[in-house]
């Protein structure tokens, strides 16, 4: 065995007594094998990793045995351990910015990681090796970029640097602690591909810590599931996913939306190439029936209508961040629309512009038919009750010094409700989200993460809104809680005829919750249409890359998706590209003939393609004859 952990117990000394983190964990990793360690936050995954590395803080107590290549690691001195760390076993940390020393150029840090295990190595040679390594992990212009400081790199590039350091001395085992959870799905796919690649070259074993079963399905041979510090199940990924032994893994699988492999797998496998056939097949498999389509049609009128919305932020030295750069968007009454796209594409900014109820920098925002720029004070106040927002992180969006009841009553108080009235209304909406009177008296700190997000939802519901903006409503929650919250939202929407505009990274969850999807790239809309079309048979090359990069908790599908990660980094918000902003990364663009390619130099506008709108000059290449698809026939043309 490469790594042999037996009866590992880790506990932390705290002022209130010892807190157990890991209990009697037994786990092995064979040479060259990839093992996933899965569990929710606080289940002891990182404690296990740091115990192996011997990097637990002094307040931790470790018992049991950790053997690396038959050598006991527990009890070794710092000197002995430091000869092992980085050479036999290397680690990739969760937050690549925090794990790099901020004031030392990345190249020097990589060179140091090499030199520390090769005392005789000349400085020049170490630097040279560092540049080579940076190049190998995909840092463009590695020689020049070696002099950059960590904060000058994007998240994905930082993680590449971390991987370069991890493989610097050809370790036998790499421990990666949530290496991609701070990254976008597109970048996550790139990093996972990179890990595959370096393992293929070095033959290193991998202990991959993650909470994302999609990542497990994609990259690992075996899985071990931790719960509250205890191992609840382990075995080969394929087998365990098909027949989970523990209720915990079963729940996690359900929560990850493990679906019948067919549809998703094929789209994923199709990658980003112009494979119209695959797309067509998919659309016919899972496309909504005609009656479903009818229901999703525009209802009584638009709850929200945005045209030409623009929001630029001036930053220092005269540069401008074009966070939102001409967005059109409509949400009908009672409709649920999702806004998706990579981090920084402007999703949150759109929501903020709406909730501000102010005249936007440019463009118009109309709510329930009323343009917000012309609003008088009284009308604006009235409108505030109609539009509410739920934010991403429930831990920070609730004032810790107020009681839950006061938190929920706050918007009512602002709108002039009396104290008793707002109190009783608060109780009522707390009931709606499944919280009792007993919770009403607590402070937010005394609630679990899921309960806190319920409170945030109750607060949004309190004034009786008709449109609710949701900014990543579940991404701060553990996977197993997400489904519950999404179901609650769907239920509330149905009961009260609410319209939703929600942003999310989790495409799997969106598939079953929203009617329409709008995809943003670099501040613009690139595709918008019915959820089933956009998410299952994406038309725009960017949407396809996004869908392909989404991890799915299905082994065959996930593995088929390996190596198809979209190239390139998410766009720099300061860059000003003319023409199609996706050009640099667009796989279709690369395959086009020269004259076709030239057209990409002009900004593509949204144009109708069957039931959706797509901003690409070459959708015809991508979609072939989709327009005549049976599912779409008989459907009133847009």
């Amino acid at each position: 065995m490469m790594l042999d952990i037996r009866d590992l117990t880790v506990s932390y000394r705290t002022r209130t007594g010892p807190v157990p983190a890991v209990r009697n964990l037994t786990l092995t990793v064979a040479a060259g094998e990839a093992v996933a360690l899965v569990g929710e936050s606080g289940s002891g995954k990182s404690a296990t990793a740091f115990a192996v590395m011997g990097l637990l803080p002094d307040t931790a107590r470790v018992e049991g045995s950790v053997r690396l290549a038959d050598r006991e690691l527990l009890g070794l001195s710092d000197r002995e351990l430091s000869a092992v760390r980085g050479r036999q076993v290397a680690m990739v940390h969760q937050d690549p910015l925090a794990a790099l020393t901020p004031v030392i150029p990345v190249g020097r840090q990589v060179a140091e990681a090499i030199a520390v295990h090769q005392p005789g190595l000349r400085r020049r040679d170490a630097t040279e090796r560092a540049v080579e390594l940076l190049d190998r992990v995909g840092i463009a212009a590695a020689r020049r970029r070696a002099g950059a400081l960590p904060h000058e790199f994007s998240g994905g590039m930082r993680q590449r640097v971390a991987i370069a350091m991890a493989i610097a001395n050809d370790p036998d085992l790499i421990i990666a602690d949530e290496p991609t959870s701070a990254l976008d799905t597109t970048v996550q796919a790139q990093i996972l591909d990179l890990l595959d690649d370096v393992r293929a070259r070095t033959g290193a074993a991998l202990l991959l810590i993650t909470h994302d079963l999609g990542v497990v399905a994609r990259s690992c041979d075996r899985i071990a599931v931790l719960r509250r510090g205890e191992l609840v199940e382990q075995g080969p990924v394929t087998k365990r996913f098909r027949r989970p032994a523990s209720a915990h893994l079963r729940d996690l699988l359900t929560a990850s939306g493990a679906e019948p492999p067919t549809a998703v797998a094929q789209v994923t496998a199709a990658g980003a190439g112009p494979l119209a056939a695959a797309v067509r097949a998919t659309a016919s498999d899972v496309g909504p029936t005609a009656s479903e389509v009818e229901q999703a049609e525009p209802g009584a009128g638009a709850a929200l209508r945005i045209t030409g919305l623009r929001r630029h932020f001036p930053v220092r030295r005269g540069a401008v961040v074009r966070a939102v750069d001409g967005v059109d968007l409509t949400v009908d009454t009672g409709e649920a629309v999702a806004l998706i796209g990579e981090s920084g594409c402007g999703k949150t900014t759109v929501l903020r512009e709406i909730i501000a109820l102010r005249r936007p920098q440019e463009g118009t925002i109309a709510l329930f038919g009323a343009d917000v720029s012309g609003l008088r004070r009284r009308d604006r106040t009235a409108l505030r009750g109609q539009v509410q927002m739920v934010m991403q992180d429930p831990a920070s969006s609730l004032n810790p010094t107020m009681s839950v009841a006061d938190v929920v009553a706050e918007p009512l108080r602002v709108h002039g409700w009396s104290r008793p009235d707002s109190r009783s209304r608060a109780r009522e909406v707390l009931g709606l989200v499944g919280l009792s009177d007993e919770h009403a008296g607590r402070r937010p700190g005394q609630l679990s993460g899921g309960q806190r997000q319920r409170v945030a939802i109750a607060r949004a519901l309190a004034p009786g809104p008709r449109l609710v903006l949701l900014d990543e409503p579940v991404s701060a929650l553990d996977t197993s809680l997400r489904v519950g919250i999404m179901d609650l939202l769907a239920d509330l929407r149905e009961r009260f005829g609410l319209a939703f505009l929600m942003t999310s990274h989790d495409l799997t969850l969106l598939r079953r919750t929203v009617d329409r999807v709008t995809v943003m790239y670099a501040g613009r809309v690139v595709e918008t249409g019915p959820a089933a079309d956009v998410l299952y048979a994406p038309a725009h090359p960017y949407t396809r890359a996004l869908v392909a990069a989404t991890p799915v908790a299905d082994v065959a599908a996930a593995r088929a998706g390996r190596g198809s990660a979209p190239a390139g980094e998410p766009p720099d918000p300061l860059d000003r590209t003319d023409g199609c902003a996706f050009r640099r990364r667009c796989p279709l663009h690369r395959e086009l003939s020269a004259p076709d390619r030239a057209r990409c130099g002009q900004v593509p506008l949204l144009a109708p393609v069957d039931r959706r709108q797509v901003a690409c000059h070459h959708t015809d290449h991508a979609l072939g004859g989709l327009g005549t698809h049976p599912a779409v026939e008989g459907h009133p043309a847009r």
Partner: protein, 265 residues
């Protein structure tokens, strides 16, 4: 804030003891601080005068307790004023940002160039004969800068806190946000800084009085007592050491309480 840390507890206990001594002590002593025992001038500590006597035979203990009273009152009042002023300036600057922030922080920078004690000293000739309350005001006026910076930093980070943004989204007014969401978060911080400000204010009063710019005779404070004692420190040490002991104990007690609370906040 954990009040039960030993250092915080020690500080609180010591401070309580000093307050008690200053308020009740003088009533229990057979001498007032102005009584002169002319047969015992500059006498070393003895049974009758546990801390010795001063130049005119005044009982050192009575003098010190009287001085302690004045120093504590000035210190506490000045600290409360200082903290209130810093809370106001800090939250306004931090929450509103923009021009208000820049102007206020420029004022802070200007006031921090020179020791605040010197500014008060410069004003002292104009204040000869006015009440010690003016001294309190002046100490507060020139002492709020450091705390206000801390408060401002906190307010700035709270400005983007989820619940503040959430309140803004519901249309809450600035007043409501400041009073309901910002200040309650700052209570622990302000409590700690207020305690530490007591220490600084007592020191400031002592320093000013030492130069003769603070409490004016015939009134006494620990500062004036130390100042008078300094001259005889090498010859009649008790005249110096007695008020020094009280002064140090007071400052130390307040600092320990504040630090004990802070380490945990």
């Amino acid at each position: 804030m954990n009040v039960h840390r030993p250092i915080a507890l020690t500080g609180a206990g010591l401070l309580a003891l000093l307050v008690l001594a200053a308020s009740v002590g003088p009533l229990l002593l057979p001498f007032t601080h102005t009584d002169q025992d002319l047969r015992n001038v500059l006498a070393a500590p003895s049974g009758a005068h546990p801390l010795g006597t001063a130049r005119l035979g005044e009982d050192m203990l009575a003098l010190c307790l009287r001085g302690l009273q004045k120093s504590l009152v000035i210190g506490l009042l000045a600290a409360v004023l200082t903290t209130a002023l810093s809370a106001l300036v800090g939250t306004v600057a931090g929450y509103l940002g923009g021009v208000a922030d820049r102007v206020l922080m420029m004022v802070v920078d200007v006031l921090l160039v020179l020791p605040p004690i010197l500014a008060v000293a410069v004003l002292s000739p104009a204040l000869r004969g006015s009440s010690w309350l003016v001294l309190v005001l002046l100490i507060a006026t020139f002492q709020w800068m450091v705390t206000s910076r801390v408060v401002r930093a906190r307010a700035r980070s709270l400005r983007v806190a989820g619940y503040v943004v959430a309140a803004e989204n519901t249309g809450a007014s600035t007043t409501r946000i400041v009073t309901r969401h910002l200040l309650p978060q700052m209570v622990p911080l302000l409590a700690i800084d207020c305690t530490l400000n007591v220490a600084s204010a007592v020191l400031a009063e002592a320093g000013l009085s030492y130069f003769g710019f603070g409490v004016q005779p015939p009134d006494v404070s620990l500062g004036t007592l130390v100042a008078t004692g300094t001259g005889s420190a090498l010859t009649f040490p008790w005249v110096f050491l007695a008020p020094v002991g009280f002064l140090t104990a007071t400052v130390l007690a307040a600092a320990m309480l504040g630090e004990g609370l802070r380490d945990d906040a």
